[in-house]
Structures are given as C-alpha cells and as structure tokens.
Symmetry: C2
Subunit: 337 residues, 2 copies
Amino acid sequence: MESKASAKTITGTLDDGLESLDLPAIWAQVRRQVRPTTFIESARLDRSLGHDIRLLLVSETFQETGSFKLRAALAAALHSEASHLLTASSGNFGAGLARAAALTGKQCTVVMPHRSAGIKIESVREEGARVDLIDTDQTSRADRVAELTRQIQGVEVVSPYNDPRVIAGNGSLGDEIFEREVPDAIVTPVGGGGLSSGLVTARDRMAPATTVVGAEPALANDAARSLRAGELLSCERESNTLCDGARTLSLGKLNFQILRTGLAEIVEVQETWVADTVRWLFDRANLLVEPTGALALAAVRQRPESFAGQRVACIVSGGNVDPSSYARLLSETASRE
Amino acid sequence: MESKASAKTITGTLDDGLESLDLPAIWAQVRRQVRPTTFIESARLDRSLGHDIRLLLVSETFQETGSFKLRAALAAALHSEASHLLTASSGNFGAGLARAAALTGKQCTVVMPHRSAGIKIESVREEGARVDLIDTDQTSRADRVAELTRQIQGVEVVSPYNDPRVIAGNGSLGDEIFEREVPDAIVTPVGGGGLSSGLVTARDRMAPATTVVGAEPALANDAARSLRAGELLSCERESNTLCDGARTLSLGKLNFQILRTGLAEIVEVQETWVADTVRWLFDRANLLVEPTGALALAAVRQRPESFAGQRVACIVSGGNVDPSSYARLLSETASRE
C-alpha cells in the first residue's frame, strides 16, 4: 500500500518542522503498520439523511487500539530518537502510543488519572507500557510529566496533537480516502486539531477541490471561536461535553496555523445531536461509536442543507466507549428520521 | 470479483436441485451485488482468547440489511421466474428478501407478527416491500402464507434456509474467506442450516482441509441432536434462546443432508457464553453484534482447547439487535478474560 501522492514539499510558512517531513513517505510508512480504515456506505443511510447527500463513513473504530490515534503515535515513534516515550492521556492517544512503542521496540510510560476506567488502564498495560497513575486532586498531569522527564533517561514527551509527526501520521487517513475517491467534502472532529490538520495537509496535496469541514462540540468551541477571531483562543476550563476526545482547552499552535486557512468552516454541534447520532449509527449502520466518533456525522445531520447534493466523507474517529455510558445513550435517545 | 473456484459439480446424492446449480457462478453473481464482508483480527483479541488461537472475525454486520441473509435472498431472487416473492420472517431474512427484490425488480411481501419491532417493520418497508402484519394469536404464519399464495398471482414462497439457491447464495461468504486465506477451521452459527450448508459446499470445493464447526444454542439443540441420532429431529416448541436467529424448530431437509457429513461437530453453546461474548466483542473489538452474531465466537470461547493453535475464522452473522435488549446485555454482563 504505497502512497500514490508525489513527494512535493508543503508550501506556506509553517515554523514547526512540518515542512521538513516527507509526508507521502510517512503516510506509506504508517499505512504499512496500521489496519486499513473501514468504509461504509448504503442507500439506506442516504435515504435517512435526505438532501441528496451521499454519505461515506470512514470508520477508525476497528483500527488497532480502537481509534485513529495509532496513526499519529506510530509516526511519532518511528521518527523519534528516544528509547522511551512518555505522554499523559486517559484515552485513545495513550493506548495508541503504547502500541506504537511496542511496534517500534521502545519503552513507554502513560500518565493516567487514577480514576480512569479499568479497561482503559488494562489496554495500555496489555501493550507492555507502564501506567503511571496519579491522583489528579493532588498532582497535575503536567507536573507529573515534568517530574518523569527528569527521572527517565532518554525519554521524549509526545503531544497527542501539537507535533508535526502527529499531523503527518494522521494524514495517512486522508491518503487512504483520496486513494479510494475524491469526495466533495470531508467532515472531521476537531479537538486539539491533530486529525483535522492531517486531513488538510493530505487534501492540499491530493485533492485540492475537496473542502474539509470541522465538527466541534458547541460546549467546547475554542477552535470555532479561534477561527472567527483570527487568533488562537482557549476554553477557560475543561468542558463536560459528551465528546471526551474534544475536551482539549485549545488547538495546538501548529494546528491553528494549518486550520485557520485550511478548514472551510467549523460546525458547532449541539450535544443532543451527538447523542442522537450515536443512536442513529446503532440503528441504521450497526456501528458502535464513542461520542467523539459521532461528532462529524452529527454536524452533517444538524446542518444537512450545507451538504445538499454532495458526496460527504464523515470521519468516525473511534469506538472506545465504556459500556454503561453507551447503554445510557441508547436508553435515553429515541431514534428519529 | 470473480470467483477463483473451478466449476466442477458437487458430489453426493442431493435430491433438491443443488447439484444442478453452478455454485461458483452464483457466488460471483451474488458478490457483485453485496458488500464485501469485513475481516477483523488483532493481537489483542488473540491474547484475550489464549490457547494460541489466531482469530479471524468475518463480520456480516455491515452487509446491506445488517446480516448475511441478503446473500441467500439475492441468489433466490436472481434465480426465480416469479414476479413476486413472499416469505414469513420477523427478522433478517425478511429485510434481505425485500432488498433482493428491489435489486432484481420484483415485488415482495413479508408476513410479520404484528408485535415485531417498529424498526424491523420500517426497514422492510424502506426497501419498497409490502409488510403483511398478522396477529399470531389468531393466525399462524404458515396459514397466512398459504392464503397469500392463493391470492397473489405469480408469487413464489421463498424459504429462508431450505432452498438450494439459499445455500448457494450463502456459499459466497465461503468464497470470500477462501479467496483471502485457508483457515484451519470455520465456526458458524446453525439455525435452519442455510449458512452452514453454504459454507460446507464452498469448503468442499475450495479448501477441503478446513473443518467447518457449527455453533448452536444449547437451548435449541435440534441440529446437534440430529447429527448424533443420524436422523432429522425437531425441537417441540420455539426456544427462548437469546439467539433469535437460531430458534428454528429443525434443520431444512436439504441442509441436514449436507451437514450430517459436512460438519466436524456442533458445539452446544450456553446462553451465558452468548451474552458474555456480545460484551466481549463490545469491549475488545468495538463490534456491535446481535446475540446470534456472537454464537460462533461464543462456541470458541466456551471450548477454546478444541481450537488450540489453530487459525479460526468465526462468522459474525449479523448486527440487528434492538437497543433496549443490547443495553440490557451490556449492563448485565461483566467483562472477563
């Protein structure tokens, strides 16, 4: 699965190392070690959406570790000199980095809140990584990461989103989409901006006519506000949106540079649309998604007229949701056309 | 996607028309109109199973209409002279036949109990079929089908399992598996025997060294008892097993002929293993399955020592489960290694 893209360098004034990376080479490298994404489409889904939208679901729920994050983590691990990788994550990036470290023969430590779900802790440990549990009432993640950085020799801290290798790795998903077809639009969840930036850079090289649209929880709309203001803004505190993968306080700096011109717009998605879309995917696509995984399709369902008549690729970013939350989502939502 | 199998005829003394069908031609025909199956495997699943089993999940949950039944229905529709197809089904075969009729330009009527879930009725209607609701306290399905057969001109009644075209259509799933690889074993749910017979006939032609193992709910073990007795036995009444796709009272006659020599064995699966495996697939594979869809893997998990060291392809037959049942299954089971 070699990338078909040519190896021209990215244009612009990115100051954080993305321009020095050979993106198509990294996409090919990542794709050799991850599961291909799962494409799902059907006339039934299109009928239910209406507005002559032709939907292509691009699901990373069956990616190893259950989300797209392995792509980012793998690119970081492959292009790190360090023998030991360190990150703070209670979620998908931690599992992805643990797996990436295992694949590249490095050690790995993941700082996690001691209240993390048992199955999430277990999935990091199963990959052979060390889990460092902290009481977040006593110690901040940042402080603990700083402390471990001093203690562990040859360690490198990896950011889940604000890193050119992370953007390059996530771009491999764009490479897969454009190798299959060139949709009118790609809709992607926006948290720290690592996935959306990866898709924008792939689009710039492979399919310049495709628009990339962000989907962000209205409850955590720092990226939408940043794009409107033309400067990088933050949320004051972590939102309690259902979409735990999009609770980041702000975009990464590098990501903001890419997204401010690269995204056509950001749809601010209401929580009710997220919950309803988790259920919609259960009812109509037999697809099990975490709330953040439903965010892109929820944006389309909230504002279908913006996508009328288009072929729309919706990224389903992951499927790791704890069973009690999922059961509650199914019970509380009623299916609607 | 042409089949690679040669076109030799099946051996044996099948008296119901299977030997007159060109199976590889039908497999190719079906595969041109259905979604390819979804293969899922991971080191994490293998670790969790233990016994050096290398698992290949073969998931039909993303097949159009949400189960493998479209394959059977399509083969029947493509090889029917009738302009109108009729079946009695509250479940997956009804939706599959409705879709197959739409694809082949035929009319379709599906007799369903009036207490069927709204979303199941809707999914048949969405395909343009007529739903004939009956009060099963007043009228039996068989009586209503007989009545409609007299009323509708040019109608043909299609059995969900006891029909050579159904077996041929389901064999297309075997063709997909063997085109990818030749596993040591295929484990498949057994209800009326249409899917398992299809897999056995594909195995006989393409991969004679692969064993095919059936998985049947212990609560509805007519097929296991039939194989032991060497004659076709029935359950006296419909079982209340969780696996609603395997509540059939007996195997079809034609299927029994194929399965009595074609299956290596039938594992009689306990209900607790079915429920637990629905949850296991949620936790570890992000895969949403109906209870019957979990049956094959549940057989392997109940008796892993029988599959030690093998590459085992487990058929996940479908994903159509109503949300309240699924939420209950998630809440009532605890995950275990």
